[in-house]
Point group: C2
């Protein structure tokens, strides 16, 4: 497994990062372009807050973990300055999107803007400490906790008290975000927040009977037999399991780490497409037709997060099953998502058969995040293994 | 072309209608089940107002046009009674969805509930005149016109005055809905409403330069170069053209009919998938990657509405191009959407290659509407042709 470390490090530093350095910087108005064709051409100039924040975070992380390159810090600041200046409304809630110049386009209906903004300013504060950055990260984090029971606010279309479901995405992100912000929040606050989200993820969203993680449960934490309640998102569940493993290691809780490992393999076994390879995007726990038309597509982040999870398991206990699965998912991903012709960032969207369905490198939902983060995580994780 | 009349009529009366009669009726709580597997099993019991209304309308229409069968009127009333009792909030706006018993689940954020409710009660009033039905249809129609500039109301997430786009769906539906409600509204009111929507569709949404119909334009009616502004939905445009042809015929305006015919063919030529056959669901007018992951799928309604449009053109002027295209789209649709193994209602969702992607007969977005309406329209339209 150790041999993969170099492969992933090279791909990160020689292909993926140069792509974003070369094509995504808006030197005129600040921030980043994320809507880029396979050749790096800009096809849309709108700026999606969560993607702006993810790229700011990523370049801060590179500076912190890989090399103290001034150009990387400068790129992080290009996003951070734009976000700071234009990203929030008067309540401190982060917009969903802005135009190229920074004027708001879509209201703060989506709390993931806030999650990634907190993550960005938290990391930036580690490489370039400023009370302003720390303040933005902390106040945004507290704002997320305050909004967590109704993250969509007035844009929530559910009839009151009829079927208020809890969605898995926010607790899952909080597992990671709290840990990311530990230098700012302090270990006591992090333990307090993460203990409750670990419990939620591993006891409420995790469905013991099926061995799978539900994407939505009732307000009381029960299974609900409707489209949302039956929904599975294997990639989400797998990504969450490597967050949980990190938390387990932090707590020295080997039982938690092993439970996360077990659930991760269950998800992967269940989500793998035996016919064409790759992991399905959405499934219905009862096998009914899901409402998502794209249910059987193969998405880059699902596969990259799986590689991270498998690398982490292998590094933790050298489980040969992790090595076997890693090879399978690695081969699938490098053969299908990697752009052999143009290099650079990877493709994101394949059809079930594994052919490129959208030939973009970035868009409204794909930016500079999952590919470089996973390449970095796999590289740094496997580098430490013996073989 | 005349030979198709019998084929379409048979399919309607011997396959599609019996499927809905047999599997969709909720005799316990009223209304209809629409989430049905390929074998007719109910996999979800939620009730989506627009689909409840569409089925009420369809069975009223069958009673009116095909045969005065009491069982069809009874089915229409099963939906109408449920809608009347549970469908609206205190403002008279129609909810998006209810549970099986009729309790509201999702708020009236979507004006298409209202459009189809008006259509249902309008048609029901023609087969079973009651002042109550007429009143519901008329007041709902006026409510739609009042809401048309901000149909999503408080659920609209666009930042004020930033980029308020006009969407094509509502004007398109109003072309048809006004005509449907003519017995209630009177011809003067219909002319008034339709003249303004015809102008909107044919001069604002229709983009002369490309010869294509845009799905979204700016508040001022201009092309906007972003995801929404570049979006094409060939099926929508084609369906709208047969609505416009109906309006042109009503007005005795042959120029309008011919313009609609021309635009229809342009859409079809542009939307046809040369590689695998079928018509794409979404496209980008500049050829950029659209944001809809399902962009290259083949949807039942797109193809069925195309068959209706082609039949109407052929009946109007016997254009041989209409006959040629009809055969091509007919062969594609009957080979791919029709369920050869189980019969009954048709499949709805194919992947680009033409394989069934979701093996449902009905769901949240597919009910008893496009298949039977198109079969009936083609049957009745081609029946009148000479050959």
């Amino acid at each position: 497994m150790k041999k993969y470390a170099e492969i992933y490090g090279n791909e990160l530093l020689n292909e993926v990062i140069p792509f974003w350095e070369k094509y995504s910087l808006d030197k005129e108005y600040g921030g980043y372009f994320t809507c880029l064709t396979e050749k790096g051409e800009i096809y849309d100039t709108d700026k999606f807050i969560w993607l702006q924040a993810r790229q700011t975070w990523l370049f801060s992380l590179l500076y912190q973990l890989v090399q103290k390159k001034e150009s990387w810090k400068k790129i992080a600041l290009l996003g951070a300055d734009f976000l700071k200046k234009y990203g929030r409304d008067t309540n401190g809630d982060w917009y969903f999107s802005l135009n190229q110049q920074g004027q708001p386009l879509v209201q703060p209906y989506n709390i993931f803007s806030d999650c990634f903004a907190a993550m960005a300013f938290g990391k930036l504060n580690e490489i370039d400490p400023k009370s302003e950055y720390a303040e933005i990260a902390k106040s945004t984090f507290e704002n997320i906790l305050r909004r967590q029971n109704n993250p969509k606010g007035k844009y929530n279309k559910v009839y009151p008290k009829s079927r208020n479901l809890q969605n898995f995405a926010l607790p899952m992100i909080l597992c990671n975000l709290s840990l990311e912000l530990e230098p700012l929040l302090g270990s006591e606050r992090v333990s307090e927040v993460t203990d409750s989200v670990i419990d939620l993820v591993m006891n409420t969203f995790y469905d013991k009977k099926s061995g799978l993680v539900l994407e939505n449960v009732s307000a009381q934490g029960e299974f609900v037999d409707n489209f949302e309640g039956r929904l599975l998102n294997p990639g989400h569940a797998i990504e969450a399991m490597w967050f949980i493993m990190n938390l387990g290691i932090r707590k020295n809780d080997s039982e938690l780490v092993e439970k996360a490992e077990k659930i991760m393999f269950q998800q992967l076994d269940h989500g793998w497409d035996e016919k064409y390879g790759g992991i399905f995007y959405f499934m219905d726990i009862k096998g009914h037709p899901p409402q998502q038309l794209e249910h059987d597509q193969k998405l880059w982040w699902v596969h990259l997060e799986t590689l991270v999870a498998l690398a982490k398991i292998y590094a933790y206990n050298q489980n040969p099953k992790a090595a076997e699965w890693f090879k399978i998912v690695h081969d699938y991903s490098w053969n299908h998502f990697r752009d052999k012709a143009n290099g650079g960032e990877w493709y994101g969207y394949l059809n079930r058969q594994g052919e490129v369905s959208l030939n973009l490198k970035g868009g409204k939902w794909k930016g500079c995040f999952h590919v470089p983060r996973a390449l970095l995580e796999v590289w740094k994780t496997l580098e430490k293994t013996e073989r």
